[in-house]
Symmetry: C2
Subunit: 273 residues, 2 copies
């Protein structure tokens, strides 16, 4: 079974994919999130996996938009702890390293470590791509910061395996299929929806009240500006409960009093953090 | 009066600063947002300006965290339309350009344009830094994508002034001072607060109900994972009304029934979009 992720071979997204699917999936990497969406629409892959939030950086807005725009259905979630590893070609030691290539955000998160070791950060498009490029350059004084998986794929040696400053760096991924292809027997414990509110005062409050009345516990609430209509908002809500629960069904019906457009994004088992 | 921003000379943040302050401020650029905070704490600058949300990318989470953690007070906001300009050294024509250097996000937003002109994107730490570096390299076949301001600062020629795909790309900035230094006579039309909720069901709803009861209109609601405590949330709320309005004061008092910790971030005039 082919599963699409965004990134170069060895990206954190592929690490998430492997952790979720084990050996039951063949990872297919795409340069852009929208290509992941297109491949799933076209039936080239059976499923997709994309990051939707990170404990440091917040929302991954473009992926939330993608799930909102397509007719996909989320069937699973995964929390991946991000451990930035410093790696280099075999034989290269930490004290040999003069520069480290990686994505600007990863370099920023490891700034203290790099300063301490007098290593110059050099930006690249992505963490895994930087590792791939390093091998081609055959450099003896360069390193990269990327996922553990990259060391296996590109034959690099890990010199330190947790070099970021903030240790609780966790990314949440969602796994999704085409709405017309939802597998049977998915355990529904948690549901993700998105909605826009009607244009009357207190409409958002009205929506949230419906959840409270039904005693449904919200686990996430995000407002997201609507692309092409800046600063009008779509609300993304995750809550406990299956889409086919009677009280969830009733709540979604009642939501229509205050919500303009409601989109069910999926219903899936709770992942451990 | 010195005002701190994050970025290299010519960054979009400096463009926002200049638009907000005109000639009444001397911009001081810092590499990191936290250095902007530190400079303001230390009294090295009178004010700071930082981006807090973008219509495409969503929250600027690290800056929201910064305003939450320091004792600063927001006294203004500004919406800056982002127009990515393609520029190069004088005399270089569009058809000469083989590669363009910029921040990966800016390159991504201009991908269609770059593909159309067969130009290779090359990542750099930031848009303005890429323009600064280009001058030093004296290249005749390279360009950068950055703000209009960079063309003035670095003597580059603008070859096209709106090369991003999504035209409505707007960043919202907030201007802030130390809480002990709030200038007199700031028009308060809009207030920003952040709060955590108590650990009982419906606490968030309870908080939002207080605003509805007082007929206070929310203009922004964001949940933000608490750093070092992933997936517990701080809520960032903007609403119409001055901090010293009686009904706002009462609402903030009532909020304490359901909110654990409330932090007032500021109160300021509404900016036009």
């Amino acid at each position: 079974m082919k599963v699409a992720f965004q990134g170069t071979k060895g990206a954190y997204s592929e690490e998430a994919l492997k952790r979720y699917f084990g050996d039951s999936a063949t990872p297919v990497g795409f340069e852009l999130s929208e290509q992941v969406g297109d491949a799933l629409e076209a039936g080239e892959v059976a499923m997709g996996i994309l990051p939707v939030e990170n404990s440091i950086a917040g929302n991954v807005a473009i992926n939330m938009d993608l799930l909102y725009q397509h007719n996909f259905f989320v069937i699973g979630e995964l929390y991946l702890p991000i451990h930035h590893c410093l790696m280099a070609r075999p034989g290269v030691k930490l004290e040999d390293i003069k520069s480290v290539h990686s994505h600007p955000v990863a370099l920023e998160q490891c700034r203290d470590f790099l300063n301490r070791h007098n290593i110059r950060p050099i930006p690249d498009f992505d963490t895994a791509g930087a590792s791939k490029n390093l091998v081609a350059r055959k450099s003896k004084d360069q390193g990269t910061i990327s996922s553990r998986l990259c060391s296996e794929y590109y034959g690099l040696e890990i010199l330190d395996d947790d070099v970021q400053k903030v240790k609780h760096n966790i990314t949440r991924f969602q796994v999704f299929v085409k709405e017309s292809n939802i597998p049977d027997g998915i355990l529904q414990e948690k549901t993700s929806i998105a909605f826009t509110t009607k244009h009357h005062p207190g409409a958002l409050l009205g929506c949230l009240q419906e959840f409270a009345k039904a005693d449904i516990n919200l686990t996430r609430l995000e407002s997201r500006p609507i692309p092409e209509n800046p600063f009008a908002y779509i609300f993304f809500v995750d809550f406990m409960g299956a889409l086919n629960d009677t009280k969830v069904k009733e709540t979604l019906l009642n939501l229509r009093n205050d919500a303009e457009h409601i989109k069910v994004l999926g219903s899936y088992p709770i992942a451990s953090k």
